[in-house]
Amino acid sequence: MRIVVEHLSYTYQPRTPFAVKALDDVTLTIEEGEFFGVIGHTGSGKSTFVQHLNGLIRLPSSLKRQKKIKPKKGCLPPPPPVLKVGDFDLGDKKTDFRALRKSVGMVFQYPEYQLFAETVKEDVAFGLKNFSEGKPDPRQTEEAVREALSIVGLDYDEIADKSPFDLSGGQKRRVAIAGVIVTRPEVLVLDEPAAGLDPLGKREIMQLLHRIHGSWCKTIVIVSHDMDEIAENCTRAAVFSEGKLVCVLPPSELFRDAGRLTDLGLDIPLTAKLVLALRERGVEIDCNFRTEDFVAAVLARKGGAS
């Protein structure tokens, strides 16, 4: 499913002293099959943006009651926002948001805090139960839960009857992700999936996402603060700052112009820092900023030189 966003704006607590414009005229397209990154500071609007993707925040035009705001005199009204995920038009009142949410899975920050059931299998099965028409078939449910746990790297027989609260942090997070992907969403959105884990846990989560990507979920969207993570994993990344979309670029181009990110107070990946430091020393290294690629590029230069 292709995600099309045009002229999307959002204000928290509008018409109050606490009003904050979280999104300001954002236009972008996420193609089917991408591993898409969303980066920006805390408060840049990136979480607000991803919450639109499965209708957690609704466009005013999709709500039954809407407040009509008269445009100021002499001003043109702002262009109407467009938000489409595949065939779902999120600006339309008649859209089936339940079906949408089944197709767009959302994993929040620290999803392990949302575990609630007594056993792992009940917790993972909850989404299936929630989305099924009528009573779900227990055999099919078990099969689906088994598969979901297996793709996140957990053994059903070992873990299904345990309490999710007895697991380690990394395991809990994987159970929580299994609970979202069990309904086989086409698009999976994750808000900082690796935050707070130890380095090994981080690597496991990223490997898991690559395993899901393409097979279970066609498109993956991750919000991340970790530029190395973006450089290593993403096809393209969108940079947000103060509610505005700054650019959407593949990492190979995004990190080439380091100044654009550092001006926004954002970090750049280690490889990009090294490329810059080498340039100052008169050595040009051309790479796509993945660690492997950087090392290969340096070694190729070495081989070519001697």
Binding site: T42, Y110, A195, L270, L274, L278, R281, V283, V298
Partner: protein, 281 residues
Amino acid sequence: MHALEFRDVDFSYGDPSQDANAFRIRKLNFTVEEGEFVAVLGHNGSGKSTLARLANGILTADGGEIRVFDTVLGEKNLFEIRKQVGVVFQNPDNQTVASIVEDDVAFGAENVALPREEIGRRIDFALGAVGMRELRGATVSRLSGGQKQRVAIAGVLALKPRIMILDESTAMLDPRGRKEIIDVVLRLNKEEKITVVLVTHFMEEALLADRAVVMNRGDIVMQGAPSEIFARSDELLAYNLALPRIAVITKSLREGGMSVKDTLDISSLADEIAGELKCGS
């Protein structure tokens, strides 16, 4: 005098005689000198947080003794010890109690029944030390994660501890918030001479410490200067720790036949690479 000393400390969760997998610490010895900045590393479940919790009596050791400035930690002096050993945890939302910043900072000091004027002075000092004096009247729930965590640190500082233990206090923060906290901690260590024990997953943070300690299965398996520790990459990997990314690059370059020295500094690595590439041509 050691600021903190563990002598043959035993501890276990659950009953190890019943459950062979129960986590346990056996005969742990560990010292921190006054004014030192020690980073504690280890994968999940290695015992780092247990170590932090034993140090101020949140958990009680099953055997051995824990000394804080040569006083043995026990039931009788628990509250005295806690004034000296402050702990800041991972989630800032779990450790703020009041709705206004200065009320929250005052909470600990009020709890130990300090005179009112003294509490005022302590709040001033603590908020100044973490750079939050302007926000003393702000609502805690409207602060950023880094600001909330600084309030939590201020709350601990108001008790004028001599040792601060940070148990993954930066794990939930964004890079900017993490830097705020690390800057504050470094300043407290250098200027206020507070002894710091920093439990962390971020290898980059451990580089700033005077000494790094690696835990595995409840035991201390490596210790030394951070640069030494990170040079022993095979050992670190064996303890399920990831190398800092810069060490990964150095290692792969060396495996590819370049003679670059171990370094954790970007510009010296760039010097090494540039030198190697230029002398070849």
